[in-house]
Amino acid sequence: MFAYVVRKLLNTIPTLLGVWIVIFVLFNVIGGDPTYIMLGKHATPELIADVRAEYGYDQPMLKQFFRYLGETVTFNWGDSRATRQPIATMIHDGLGPSLTLTVPAFLVTTVFSVLMGLLVAYFRGRWIDRIVVIGCVIGMSVPMLAFILFGQYFLAYKMGLFPIHGFDPAWPERFHHILLPALIWVVVSLGYNVRFYRTALVEEVGQDYIRTARAKGLGELPVFLKHVLKNGMVPILTNIVIEIPMLVLGSFLLESFFGIPGIGGITIAAINNSDFPVIRAMTTLVAMLFIAGNLATDILYTLVDPRVRLK
């Protein structure tokens, strides 16, 4: 077991390196240097040269790459070009609000959509299945923006059910403010998730062993609960693990419309300001979390089912 974990760990090294190289090439080699954001409307050539030197944009690429690696390994990404705040602090401060929104919303979404997925997979091909599929597609094609604007206007302003805007860092008041955005998140992501879980489960239904089980004379419901659910859990769990690192990113739209000071808002501000160091740090961080998440799933699977190790 231990040897297996070590092997898996070693396997992530090339992936990590690859991620670092891709990100570095994108941002430092092709992306160029974002000097002007720091200088505002009265920039001079002399100032521009100062900034280049200060941030190492005038150095050879290899040196810049090692600088980036150093920053990544120590989680010390330097300062934002736009706000001059240390990026590590920005991420640290943004994580709380983002997770406050995304974790409950994600949990509710996942529970609902797995349940719905089970339901429609069981009744696959019948009217309830068709209706849910169409409902999901409606949910997937109406832009989140529409939900936000209507939710904010009718539910929060007209009916006064939720606060219109804002975030309170205190516990448990912070949950009060994320209710409406979380609700919108759930409604919007339900469509995709239900469809995904339905497909995963329906695929299991077609497997040989299910047919064998049926042939052995087991009823539809027992087959479904015993075999389909058990085996369908693997793709479901995989999907959940894949989505977890994304929770850190928060939600661009929800955060800016509801004034939640999270990572999504920071990212969108960084995009608008061409704040490359922030976007780069964010991309690196989420990619690393993603790799860690995959590693964790691999190891978890072998704990649950030692046969996986042989594959």
């Binding site: 920039a43 001059r84 219109i164 975030f167 860092p169 009060h176 979380a182 004034g259």
Partner: protein, 583 residues
């Protein structure tokens, strides 16, 4: 039956979810102002206060030597931390300021000598703060204010660049604290606008102890002498300010311009400042939540977002009935700004062809522009100087800004491109926001009428600035807001020595204009200077380096319980506001 049970689970979960809903609102102090910022407040260090959000927040905690009179218009400079207006030497180069005695910095842990009590402000603090603006390591966005103005400061800066570290102990000949309360500033040449820069947030005074003890984190703190103390700061969410208990003895002004008394703006005359006990600032990135919060009475002041205009204002430009019945007041005031299209004068096509520029200026119809994008709340600009500044001529009509497509087509023939034939598409650079995209579509349609095609390149704001500074692109849209209330701030935009990457983004260069500009710098405000300004404007009108757009009019809404509100183009007005709610 299986699915029935699922539904029970579904419903109970949603109940659980909504149960968290019921939490009680916090109690509010009666005299709390609730304000909005429409963008992220990037930090509170005065030397980086280059956008309106940071500028406004900085001015709650920090002060400079001078400030603008709250009520008088046109704007008048009055002392802030200075005891009186400075003594000016005969050659008008040396300014001697007496600093107010007994002014204290906010209490803060960084004052170790006094056990956390704020110490007294001295003239040395100004010397230190001005040097920070010049420190090359800090890369201040306000350095242009003092660049080349104060004797010895540029040398001090170069020295710091060479050594790699700034020596704050090294003297600067033009910046001297001759005693504890006397500050002497010596200029290199006459600069009539210099005093204005002492009222801008950039030149606010900071405490060295705080700068040094917080280091890089200084921009998340505010230790000044100002009317409010920082209680909470979250750059993209909210700021909470409380009345500074040790604030200097400053009182509400007892005179204003005509009509202020009738408007009740003098009711608090002579009362100590600040008038409010607490300010809660919320950052709104999007307009809709800000507008809805205002409508629900939880925001005290609000601009009217462009797209909520119909809802708030009647076609006669008055307040809608719903709002006026709630007691909401509408405040209209022209802004000190000008929007414009810039032609890149160093470009071989547009820069060398006056007739082409004039033709484009003639078809850029400001009527529909003002209706579609400003809801009628803007004045068509005839020249660079906005109304409200001396030098603005309300009767002047720019001959190339009176929509005339026939004349424009004639000029296109003269330009050598009859009907646009032979003219390659012009590179139009713009930022990528939603409103900007719509304005770009407008420009495409308008210029198409005389056969001028545009090739659109959209950038983020910094990339756009970079493109402008590097003289890329042939035409772009921009706006200039006054840094200080003097026409010189607008006219310097065409001075050839300010060309890119300086603020003269059109790279306009005309020796005659430069001569007149230099001449105007030496002149005091008066008929002679106004005459020179008029000559300069005439040159710009004929050469057409810009298509003048509009001067915007700000429409603000004020809740009935806010007293003493008057719109100002400059920062630091919040200390005058007061909240009076019915019990």
């Amino acid at each position: 039956m299986k699915h029935a049970r699922l539904w029970v689970g579904f419903i109970s979960l949603s109940l659980l979810f909504s149960a968290a809903c019921t939490s009680k609102p916090k109690e509010e102090l009666p005299n709390t102002l609730r304000l909005a910022q429409r963008g992220k407040v990037k930090g509170l260090d005065p030397i980086y206060a280059d956008d309106t959000y940071a500028g406004e927040e900085v001015s709650r905690a920090y002060e400079g030597l001078l400030q603008f009179h709250y009520l008088k218009r046109p704007y008048v400079l009055i002392p802030a931390l200075a005891e009186a207006m400075p003594e000016v030497s005969k050659d008008r180069l040396t300014f001697t300021f007496k600093i107010k005695k007994g002014v204290l910095f906010h209490d803060d842990a960084s004052f170790k000598d006094t056990g956390g009590k704020g110490r007294e402000l001295t003239a040395e603090d100004f010397v230190y703060s001005f040097k920070r603006l010049a420190d090359p390591k800090l890369i201040s966005t306000g350095w242009w204010l003092l660049d080349g103005k104060i004797a010895g400061l540029n040398e001090w800066r170069q020295d710091a660049q060479k050594k790699g570290v700034a020596d704050y102990a090294a003297p600067v000949s033009g910046l001297k604290a001759s005693d504890r309360y006397t500050l002497e500033i010596k200029l290199l040449s006459r600069a009539p606008s210099f005093l204005y820069s002492l009222a801008m947030p950039f030149t606010s005074v900071v405490a060295r102890e705080a700068v040094e003890s917080y280091g890089k984190d200084f921009l998340n703190h505010a230790v000044g002498t100002g009317p409010f103390r920082l209680m909470e700061f979250s750059s993209n969410s909210r700021l909470i300010w409380a009345k500074n208990p040790t604030y200097r003895q400053e009182t509400y002004p007892s005179e204003g311009e005509q009509g202020d008394k009738e408007a009740g703006l003098l009711a608090d005359a002579g009362q100590p400042l600040p008038r409010a006990d607490r300010i809660e600032v919320q950052v709104y990135v999007e307009d809709q939540p800000m507008w809805l919060t205002f409508l629900s009475g939880k925001l005290d002041l609000s601009a009217i977002p462009k797209d909520n205009f119909q809802q708030a204002i009647t076609p006669g430009k008055e307040l809608s009935r719903d709002l006026s019945e709630q007691g909401v007041r509408l405040v209209k005031s022209p802004m000190l700004d000008v929007t414009h299209y810039t032609f890149n004068m160093s470009d071989p096509v547009v820069g060398k062809n006056k007739y082409l520029r004039q033709a484009m200026s003639l078809v850029y119809d400001s009527g529909p522009l003002i209706e579609l994008f400003y809801n009628g709340r803007a004045l068509a600009a005839q020249g660079p100087i906005p109304p409200g500044l001396s030098g603005h001529d309300p009767k002047f009509r720019n001959p190339y800004r009176q929509f005339n497509i026939g004349k424009a087509k004639e000029l296109m023939v003269k330009a050598g491109y009859p009907g646009g034939q032979g003219l390659p598409p012009l590179t139009y650079i713009t930022t990528a926001g939603s409103t900007e995209r719509q304005m770009t579509e407008y420009a495409v349609r308008v210029f198409d009428t005389i056969g001028v095609k545009l090739q659109i390149e959209a950038f983020s704001w910094p990339e756009f600035q970079q493109a402008v500074r590097n003289r890329k692109g042939q035409i772009w849209s921009f706006a200039w807001n006054a840094d200080y209330p003097d026409a010189e701030n607008f006219l310097q935009l065409f001075y050839s020595k300010n060309a890119s990457p300086g603020p003269n983004d059109s790279n306009y260069s005309n020796p005659e204009y430069d001569r007149l500009y230099e001449k105007s710098l030496g002149l005091p405000d008066g008929a002679e200077r106004t005459a020179v300004y008029r000559q300069m404007v005439n040159l710009l009108v004929e050469d057409c380096p810009w298509i003048f757009g509009v001067h915007r009019i700000a429409f603000g809404l004020v809740q009935p319980w806010v007293k003493n509100y008057k719109r100002s183009d400059f920062h630091g007005a919040s200390k005058y506001y007061r909240v009076e709610r019915e019990k």
